[in-house]
C-alpha cells in the first residue's frame, strides 16, 4: 500500500466513523445548548437503540434480510423508540430538578445511564436466538452482516470502500443538512435558538419553553437512534457497555467543536474519527492507546480552550 493509498484509506475510515460520532454529538450539543446539562445517558439511549435494531433484524430473518427492507424498517422504528426514550428521561429525571444546581442534574443523568446499562444487559440476556455471541448476557452480540465486504472500487484496488461506508455518508449527510435547515429556517428552530440564548426572555415572548426542551430531547434521541442503526450495521457488534464509549467520543467531539454549536459538533466528530482511524490504522500499537489520546484531547480542550475550536459560546452564567 502506498502512502497516498494509506492516507485515502484512513480518510475513508475516519470520516465514516466521524459521521457516526457526529450524530450522537449533535444530541449532546443541542441539549447542552438549551439546558446546560451534560446528558450522560445519551450514549446509553443509543446503545438501547442498537439492541432494538438487533431484535428487529433477528425477528425478521437475520442475515437473509435484504438491506432494502431492513434499512427502511429500522429507520422507521428505532429512532422513534430512542426519541421517546430520551423524551421520557427528560420528563422523569431532569425536569423535576431543573431549578436545582447543575451538578444535581449531572448526577441524575449518571444514574439514568446506569439504569440503561443494566437494561441493556438484561436485553442481551433474553432467551432469543437473535442474540449471537453466546448465552452470557454480558457478552458482545454480533449484528447480522447485511452489506457484505465487497469493495466498490474493484477487487484489485488496495483502498477498501465498502457499501457500509457509503451507507453512513448517504444517511448522515442529508440528515445534517435537514437539521441545519430546521434549526435556521423553521419557526420551531427559531424558538429553540431563542431558548438556548435566554430561556426567560423566550418565555416572555410567548415560547413554550418546556415544549421546546422536550422537542430538543426528541430530536437528539432520534439522531441517536439513526446513529445506533448505522453503528450496529457498520461495526457488526453490539455490547451493553458500548454507550459509554460512544457517548464519551461524542461528548469530546461536542466540546472540541464548542459545546452548543451544531457545525462545531460535526467538525469535532470528524476530527475524533480521523484521530481514531490514524491511531488504529497507522500508529504501531496505537489501538490500545486511542482512548487515552481521545481523553487527553478532551482534557486539553476543556482546560486550555473551553469554548472549543469554533468558540462561539461566550455566554457564561454567573
Amino acid at each position: 500500500m502506498t502512502t497516498t493509498e494509506l492516507i485515502i484509506q484512513l480518510l475513508i475510515t475516519g470520516l465514516a466513523n466521524g459521521l457516526i460520532i457526529a450524530l450522537i454529538a449533535l444530541g449532546y450539543t443541542m441539549v447542552y445548548g438549551i439546558i446546560e446539562l451534560i446528558n450522560f445517558a445519551h450514549g446509553d439511549v443509543m446503545m438501547l437503540g442498537c439492541f432494538l435494531a438487533l431484535t428487529i433484524v433477528g425477528l425478521c430473518g437475520g442475515e437473509q434480510l435484504s438491506p432494502w427492507i431492513a434499512l427502511p424498517l429500522l429507520f422507521l422504528t428505532v429512532p422513534f423508540f430512542t426519541a421517546g426514550l430520551n423524551w421520557s428521561v427528560e420528563k422523569l429525571a431532569y425536569k423535576p430538578i431543573r431549578e436545582a444546581p447543575k451538578l444535581t442534574a449531572l448526577v441524575s443523568a449518571i444514574g439514568v445511564s446506569f439504569v440503561f446499562i443494566n437494561i441493556g444487559m438484561f436485553w442481551g440476556g433474553l432467551p432469543m436466538d437473535v442474540f449471537g455471541g453466546g448465552g452470557s448476557a454480558a457478552s458482545a452480540k454480533s449484528f447480522p452482516d447485511l452489506f457484505g465486504w465487497s469493495n466498490l472500487l474493484g477487487e484489485q484496488s488496495a483502498v477498501l470502500l465498502t457499501p457500509r461506508d457509503v451507507m453512513v455518508a448517504a444517511v448522515t449527510i442529508p440528515l445534517m443538512i435537514g437539521l441545519t435547515f430546521f434549526i435556521n429556517r423553521t419557526r420551531m428552530g427559531t424558538a429553540m435558538r431563542a431558548v438556548a440564548q435566554n430561556p426567560t426572555a423566550a418565555k416572555l415572548m410567548g415560547i413554550d419553553v418546556d415544549r421546546v426542551i422536550g422537542l430538543t430531547f426528541i430530536i437528539g434521541g432520534a439522531l441517536a437512534g439513526v446513529a445506533s442503526v448505522i453503528t450496529a450495521l457498520y461495526t457488526g457488534s453490539i455490547h451493553f457497555q458500548m454507550g459509554y464509549r460512544n457517548g464519551m467520543d461524542a461528548f469530546t467531539a461536542a466540546v472540541l467543536g464548542g459545546i452548543g454549536n451544531l457545525p462545531g459538533a460535526v467538525l469535532g466528530a470528524l476530527l475524533i474519527g480521523l484521530v481514531r482511524a490514524v491511531m488504529e490504522g497507522y500508529v504501531p500499537n496505537g489501538g490500545q492507546w486511542s482512548n487515552t489520546v481521545v481523553f487527553a484531547l478532551l482534557i486539553l480542550v476543556l482546560v486550555f480552550r473551553p469554548n472549543g475550536i469554533l468558540g462561539s459560546r461566550v455566554r457564561e452564567k454567573v
Partner: protein, 348 residues
C-alpha cells in the same frame, strides 16, 4: 428529621451503637469480619471523595483512579518482583504521598473550570489512568495485576497470617483515624474555608480566602485519602487487582456512597458506605449464592440478584437527586450563608 423522641434517640446515638456492634462482631466469626473489612476501606475512600465533593463542592468522577494510584503504588513498593519491598507501613505512606501529588497535578490545570467541566476532566483523568495501567504491562503486569503485595501488619505484634481478627481491628482503627481526621479538618480553619468556597466563591474571595489554594489542598488531601484506601484494599486482597476494577463505574459507586449518606457529612459517608457497599458485596452476593444453591436462578439473567447492581445504584442516584439531594443525613451547614443576611459577613 421528625421530632419523634425515638427517631431523635436513633439519630443521636446510631454512630455509638454502630461502633459497639463492629467492635464485638468479629467475636461471632471471621466470616462476618471478612465481609465488613472492605466496607471500612470504601468508607475511607468515600471520606476522601467527601473532602473534594462534599466539603469543597467539586464533583470528582475519578475517585476510583486515585484508589488505583494508591493500590499500584503500594504494590510496586512491596511486591517481590521489584527491589523496593519496603513493607506495609512505609508502603501506605508512599501511596498517600503519590496520591496527593497526583491529585495536585490533576487539580492544577483544572482549577480554572466550572463545575460540570471539572467533573468531565476528572472522568477523563480516571479513564487515562486505567488505560495507562492496563497498557504499561511491562510495569503493572496489565490485566493480571501485581501480586503478592505486603499483607497488613501491626507494629511490634506478631500473629499468624491466617488470623483475620488483627487485620479487622487494624483496619477499623485506621478508619477511626480517618474519621477523626476528616471531622477535625471540617472544624478547622481550612475546613471552614472549604465550605465558604463551596457555598459562595465570590464572597469567600472577598473575605481574603484564596479559592485556588483552598481547592488545591482539598484535592491533595482527598486524593491522598482515596489512595490510602486503595493501598489498604490492595493489601487486604494481596493483589493490586486489575486496572479495569478501578473504572468509571467504580468511581460512581464511590460517589453513591457520598451522595446517599449526605454530601459534606462524615457520619453520612459511613452510613453510605455501609448501605451501598454492604448492599453490593454482602446482600446481593449472598442472595445470589443462596438462590443459586436452591436452583432458583436457572439461566435467567433477571433472576440473578447481582445483575441488578447498576439498576439499583442508578435508581439510588436518580431518586436521591429528586427526593433528597442533601442525602439521608444532611450536613448541618447546607444552607448557603447568603440566606442569613444579618450574620452573613460576621464570621469568616
Amino acid at each position: 428529621m421528625s421530632d419523634h423522641p425515638t427517631i431523635k434517640i436513633i439519630a443521636r446515638f446510631w454512630p455509638h451503637a454502630l461502633l459497639a456492634i463492629v467492635l464485638v462482631l468479629p467475636l461471632f466469626g471471621d466470616a462476618i469480619a471478612t465481609k465488613l473489612t472492605p466496607i471500612m476501606v470504601f468508607a475511607i475512600v468515600g471520606l476522601g471523595l467527601n473532602v473534594v465533593a462534599g466539603f469543597t463542592g467539586l464533583l470528582n468522577l475519578g475517585a476510583a483512579a486515585f484508589m488505583a494510584i494508591g493500590a499500584y503504588t503500594f504494590a510496586i513498593c512491596t511486591v517481590p518482583i521489584y527491589p523496593f519491598q519496603i513493607g506495609f507501613w512505609p508502603g501506605l505512606g508512599v501511596a498517600i504521598m503519590v496520591g496527593a501529588v497526583a491529585g495536585t497535578i490533576l487539580a492544577l490545570p483544572a482549577m480554572r473550570l466550572r463545575g460540570d467541566y471539572l467533573a468531565i476532566v476528572t472522568l477523563g483523568f480516571g479513564e487515562i489512568i486505567t488505560d495507562v495501567l492496563k497498557n504499561l504491562d511491562a510495569i503493572t503486569k496489565g490485566t493480571q495485576g501485581l501480586n503478592p503485595v505486603a499483607a497488613p501488619e501491626i507494629p511490634f505484634v506478631t500473629y499468624s497470617i491466617s488470623a483475620y481478627k488483627p487485620t479487622y481491628y487494624l483496619y477499623l482503627a485506621l478508619l477511626l483515624v480517618a474519621i477523626l481526621l476528616c471531622h477535625n479538618m471540617r472544624k478547622s480553619r481550612l475546613g471552614r474555608q472549604w465550605i465558604a468556597v463551596r457555598d459562595d466563591e465570590l464572597a469567600a474571595r472577598s473575605m481574603g480566602i484564596s479559592p485556588a489554594r483552598t481547592k488545591l489542598i482539598a484535592f491533595a488531601i482527598g486524593s491522598g485519602l482515596c489512595a490510602f484506601g486503595g493501598a489498604m484494599f490492595a493489601s487486604l486482597n494481596g493483589t493490586s487487582i486489575e486496572p479495569s476494577f478501578y473504572d468509571f463505574q467504580q468511581s460512581v459507586v464511590i460517589l453513591c456512597i457520598v451522595i446517599v449518606g449526605g454530601m459534606g457529612n462524615v457520619k453520612g459517608v459511613i452510613l453510605g458506605a455501609l448501605i451501598m457497599v454492604g448492599f453490593n458485596s454482602i446482600i446481593l452476593v449472598n442472595l445470589t449464592e443462596w438462590m443459586t444453591r436452591n436452583g432458583w436462578t436457572g439461566n435467567n439473567v433477571l433472576a440473578t440478584p447481582s445483575n441488578w447492581k447498576f439498576m439499583i445504584f442508578g435508581l439510588a442516584l436518580i431518586l436521591m437527586m429528586r427526593l433528597r439531594p442533601q442525602g439521608l443525613i444532611p450536613a448541618q451547614d447546607v444552607e448557603p450563608v447568603t440566606q442569613k443576611p444579618a450574620t452573613a459577613g460576621a464570621t469568616p
